[in-house]
């Protein structure tokens, strides 16, 4: 799946999890500045893992700063 598609997937899943839209999110968006708390972020990751049938190791998750970082970690597991 292309990184752009993963960005769209992130926005869709984040909207479903956090019950609000994220229209202006880009790969450069810093996750902590999106107003998504840590448990909600894990919920988003879990939803993406579940939908894509992948598992992202815990060590990969501690390095995430931007949405693009997450997309890259996901893409590596596809």
């Amino acid at each position: 799946m292309a990184n752009r598609d993963l960005l769209e997937m992130f926005k869709t899943v984040a909207a479903r999890v956090d019950k609000r839209e994220f229209p202006n999110v880009t790969k450069q968006s810093v996750i902590t500045e999106l107003g998504i708390d840590s448990l909600s972020m894990m919920q988003i990751v879990g939803e993406m893992e579940s939908e894509l049938g992948i598992m992202i190791p815990d060590e990969d998750l501690v390095e995430l700063v931007t949405v693009g970082d997450l997309c890259a970690k996901v893409e590596k597991r596809l």
Partner: protein, 444 residues
């Protein structure tokens, strides 16, 4: 039990129930004998042993929760907060309320939560530090359990919400109410099945009597009318079905045709306070918690002791703690689940304590209209008892069309009745053999 206790008053009450989502509506419904029981329509009942439930209608979760929180918290926690908000407003503590800034449930340190509670700059510091919350449930967030387990089954464990555990932990409501109002005194939950709400009130009063807290937000809640729970209770043969096709006739304590209880849901919350604290801030007591007594059957997980001696012990302890004698009790709000065995055991307990006086001791069963709110029942029925004392009027027991001859010598109130009541006894008994009795006294 000879030590003098600090007096505990009730200064606020709040309710979410099958007959109304605020205390005025709830009390008016009970006085008019209106049942909150209907046929279950949320899921098929053709293979279940019950087809009726008393469900909460018209609860507006959006008044209290963001859309995300509505998904996180189970109905039991939502009802708890709704009832707590009404109780705290009634007690004059509305200004303590702190709405969430962005609506999340588990926030990081830098995301705007109000964490100034209890600091030197907090104008409500003193009351926050002296107030706790004992908000309990018997079954927990069964709806969330069922949803997340199904999610794991279909989509695997990674799809399980990280909010699953904080949502279903039994102390979730106590934590939420404490967070919303910034209550930093003792907060937790207790569980004793159908006596949960009653035990919560007793334990809250004990904390105040002992000086551990000045105020306690106490109560119980339940929202467990889910397929697996109805199946489980039904398979113990404890549940009733519609009678003559009428769901409102299913709950009929003390009637010859009683066949079990009806699953109910909702929440009841009381604000308890030391009398000195309430008087100092000008709050008006609605009633006193004059005494409480607790005991255990210690015999069987689901069946009450047939002679009622466990419950009798709880009643006697409550009367002793209140420094009263049985002759001082003017009204009884019994547990009265409408099960064939439970009603008899309770009658035997009452007979042992009150003897011939039962003939003139008015009693009415709130569950005949509310169904059985399980962990919320004792709190909801205690609120009915507080309203009884406040208004000096007793709500009726409905569906007593043909009283079981066993109970012929009790004064079961079947139509709204004015009465002079100073002391009222509230009883609860739960699966596990847990018994709790409360005595409320009219405010002066």
């Amino acid at each position: 039990m000879s030590t003098a206790h600090r007096r505990v008053v009730v200064t606020g009450v709040g309710i979410v129930s099958p007959v109304g989502n605020d205390v005025p509506t709830f009390w008016s419904s009970l006085l008019s004998g209106r049942s909150g029981i209907s046929l279950i329509s949320d899921f098929p009942t053709d293979k279940l042993r019950s087809d009726v439930a008393a469900s909460v209608r018209g609860f507006e979760a959006a008044r209290f929760f963001s859309p995300k929180e509505t998904e996180i918290y189970g109905k039991v926690t939502q009802f708890s907060l709704g009832a707590a908000v009404e109780a705290m407003r009634g007690a004059g503590f509305e200004s303590l309320y702190r709405p969430p800034k962005r609506g999340g449930a588990a926030k990081d340190d830098d995301d705007g939560d109000d964490d100034s509670g209890g600091t030197e700059s907090d104008p409500h510091r003193a009351v926050r530090l002296a107030t706790g919350c004992l908000m309990s449930t018997g079954q927990g967030a069964v709806d969330v359990f069922e949803r997340e387990i199904e999610k794991a089954r279909v989509r695997g464990p990674r799809a399980v919400s990280p909010f699953f555990v904080p949502s279903v932990m039994p102390n979730s409501a106590a934590a939420l109410v404490a967070m919303r109002f910034g209550l930093m005194g003792p907060s937790y939950s207790v569980a004793s099945a159908c006596a949960t709400g009653t035990h919560s009130i007793a334990m809250g009063a004990l904390l105040i009597e002992s000086g551990e807290a000045e105020c306690m937000v106490v109560g119980g809640a339940e929202a467990a009318t889910q397929p697996n729970t109805v199946a489980g209770f039904g398979n113990t043969r404890a549940l009733a079905r519609a009678v003559d096709g009428d769901p409102t006739k299913a709950s009929r304590p003390f009637d010859r045709r009683r066949a079990g209880f009806v699953m109910g849901e909702g929440a009841g919350v009381l604000v308890l306070e030391s009398e000195s604290h309430a008087r100092a801030r000008g709050a008006t007591p609605l009633a006193y918690v004059a005494g409480f007594g607790m005991s255990t059957d210690a015999t069987n997980l689901t069946k009450p002791l047939v002679d009622g001696r466990g419950l009798r012990m709880a009643i006697e302890r409550a009367i002793a703690r209140a420094r009263l004698s049985p002759g001082d009790i003017d009204y009884v709000n019994p547990h009265a689940t409408s099960t064939p065995q439970g009603d008899v055991a309770e009658y035997r307990a009452l007979s042992a304590v009150f003897g011939e006086r039962l003939r003139t001791l008015p009693m009415s069963a709130t569950k005949s209209m509310l169904g059985h709110m399980l962990g919320g029942a004792g709190a909801a029925e205690s609120i009915a008892t507080v309203c009884t004392l406040r208004d000096q009027v007793i709500h009726p027991s409905i569906n007593v069309d043909d009283i079981d001859p066993i109970f012929e010598n009790i004064d079961l109130v079947r139509e709204k009745r004015a009465a002079q009541i100073r002391y009222a006894l509230k009883l609860s008994a739960g699966f596990g053999g847990h018994n709790c009795a409360l005595i409320f006294e009219r405010a002066q």
